[in-house]
Symmetry: C2
Subunit: 385 residues, 2 copies
């Protein structure tokens, strides 16, 4: 096991009716900016629950934070918040709204050009406005971590930053808020969480037993519960198990003391930036191709993945690995995602532009061995056609 520091200070309230806990978490005199995306939180009653939980509070609203939240949109919220002297941000939605609100939180008190927060990968952040969140789409784990991914429309960039100042103050996870999710969003969330786990697990063995057991357990849960969430969308236990699994998948506990990959995310981000694919959809395309390409480097962990996660105990090592990769692809397809670039009419002629974007973002030595060069990335994109 490698050395590590673990820190996760967010207070988390999980379960039906927990939105009410906001009252004990946010002071009565705060000037709150409630941030959200479209109108779904009005239709499903979540917005009403929040107003009921915070009677007499000063609540401003900023809506319209889009999937892959854009710098352009977020800067409007920053201006609004500065003008109105906002003291607490309340993000209500999925990963995009919460990631976007982390950027707003860091940008409000920042004196330079806020895009520097992203280009510096968060290093310039010295303080942030406190933020709380109500999660309505389990997927990214952002509700208890310090990461954020922001896009810039103007230049078609999508990049991440991290700062200890943007850990949410508290997070509310009420599984009933996910009952009304469209199947596509439910599926995206499950696949996103699944691949978050693999980015931290499917590298090379370092005898980190706790991290391995946790990762394998969470993967098995998603394989079992994910498809059931599509057929039984209002089953509380299924929704609760998925919500808690997705949160654990990227709260940091799986990644401590082990190598991490994240190349699938890097290659996927360019697909979203240039072609507008859903984040999870990009991962479902890139991952199987990447695993095929990196069979040797990931040999030990691929065998372990095959055995512990998919129960493949018969046959040669090569057979186990082949079967595990195929099962992974089939799982994504069972959830309703596609696993080929061709499904989105992205062809060989589009690959050079993707690779150029990787180069532009300095993504020239990816993966747990930093050996996924631009040439290897090109092969992975090609294998994903």
């Amino acid at each position: 096991m490698q050395n590590f520091t673990y820190y996760s200070p967010t207070r988390l309230h999980f379960g039906q009716g927990q939105i009410d806990k906001l009252r004990s978490e946010i002071g009565k005199n705060e000037r709150i900016l409630l941030t959200y995306g479209g109108g779904s939180i009005k239709r499903n009653g979540v917005l009403d629950q929040i107003y009921t939980a915070l009677p007499g509070y000063q609540i401003h609203e900023f809506s319209g934070i889009e999937p892959n939240p854009s710098y352009e949109t977020l800067m409007k919220a920053v201006s609004y918040a500065r003008y109105h002297g906002i003291t607490h941000l309340l993000a209500v939605g999925g990963g995009s709204v919460i990631d976007g609100t982390k950027f707003i939180a860091a940008a409000i008190p920042y004196h330079g050009e806020p895009w520097e927060i992203v280009t510096s990968r968060g290093k310039v952040v010295e303080k942030a406005i406190p933020l709380s969140c109500v999660l309505t789409l389990p997927a990214t784990g952002t509700e208890t971590n310090s990461f954020s991914v922001i896009s810039k429309k103007q230049t078609m960039d999508k990049q991440s930053f991290a700062s200890p100042h943007v850990y949410p103050h508290c997070a509310i996870l009420d599984p009933t808020t996910t009952y009304s999710l469209p199947p596509r969003q439910t599926a995206n969330g499950v696949v996103d969480a699944f691949i978050h786990i693999l980015e931290q697990y499917l590298t090379y063995p370092v005898n980190a037993r706790v991290q391995d057991e946790y990762a394998e357990g969470l993967l098995r849960i998603l394989i079992d519960q994910g498809p059931k969430a599509l057929t039984s969308p209002t089953d509380y236990d299924i929704r609760a198990n998925i919500m808690w699994t997705a949160s654990q998948a990227l709260n940091g506990i799986l990644g401590v003391g082990v190598p991490q990959d994240w190349a699938t995310h890097a290659l996927g981000h360019e697909l979203t930036a240039l072609h507008g694919l859903d984040h999870a959809q990009t991962l479902a395309i890139v991952l199987p191709a990447l695993l095929n390409e990196k069979r040797q480097a990931k040999y030990g962990k691929l065998i372990q993945y095959a055995q512990k996660v998919w129960g493949i105990n018969q046959g040669s090592d090569a057979f186990k690995i082949e079967t595990a990769i195929n099962e992974t692809r089939k799982f994504f397809e069972l959830m309703g995602l596609r696993t080929r670039l061709a499904d989105f009419k992205i062809g060989e002629e589009d690959i050079p532009a993707l690779v150029r974007k990787l180069e532009e973002h300095g993504q020239i030595a990816l993966g747990e061995h930093q050996d996924i060069t631009l040439e290897v990335s090109q092969r992975i994109y090609t294998a994903a056609l």
Copy 2:
């Protein structure tokens, strides 16, 4: 899954050499009271490492915190700390030293009689002196939680309290500090952690998949790594896996959203208080007898435990349960602990006094169903003869 709140604000530094991180965690102007037990931290070099990590700091020392830390000893530290205006406590040792230091932290600013902290179960605690800790005996998980168990010699009481004010500020977990542990302490730590997991897992099913997968994974790790720690005491990975497992076992993550038992602990505490047995030793005696007694109430989870933890997939349900309980007992004995009261010359004539102590402490309705009455406790003690 039941509703829950999860909060774990302690910053944790794990790995060889991490004692050095104390310098970034404790301000140069703090007046530190370093608390510890006997002389082992002098012999194994841990004390030297701490002084090296904190050059020029004002460090006072208070030694002699005993296993099952006593109110009587701890109050001496409270007087010392008040007199010298201590502003930060640094606990170096195992669960007893850290639990004891939590009491000191809460007692220093407390205006009433500090034993009220224990009798009120922590409710009277409104503030505490910040405490950091260097863990040298993985077992109780106290390094990242808000619990503490304190004994009073005068009345032979052993009771727990909890308060959000006594979460450690930071915890250092360096597996190399455990290389020199006597085998008995290593074994006690493994068995203690094992039973902490069972207290949160072996109740009745509530379809909490994450908690179940985590618990089963951690149990399998202890079964595999525990005996190896006895034969290979300086193997880094084994020590690291045990240290991280024991910490996870009681940092709260296993117990959220699920029923909990803790009757084994309650019955065990009286054995320590009246007969001086090691804490883990009491649990190894009580648990098999309790599982036998509660077979019906724990039926579903006992089957799951047999299958997932011990790999017992053949035979009738009754056979699986019987075998799982026997395997559990054999594991404790393999670790060098005894599993019968008779091994300590405790006989039937001693049981009434144990039951009277339970009654005195209000422990009259224990377990996840609150159905372990004094009569049932008496049967469990008797079955453990």
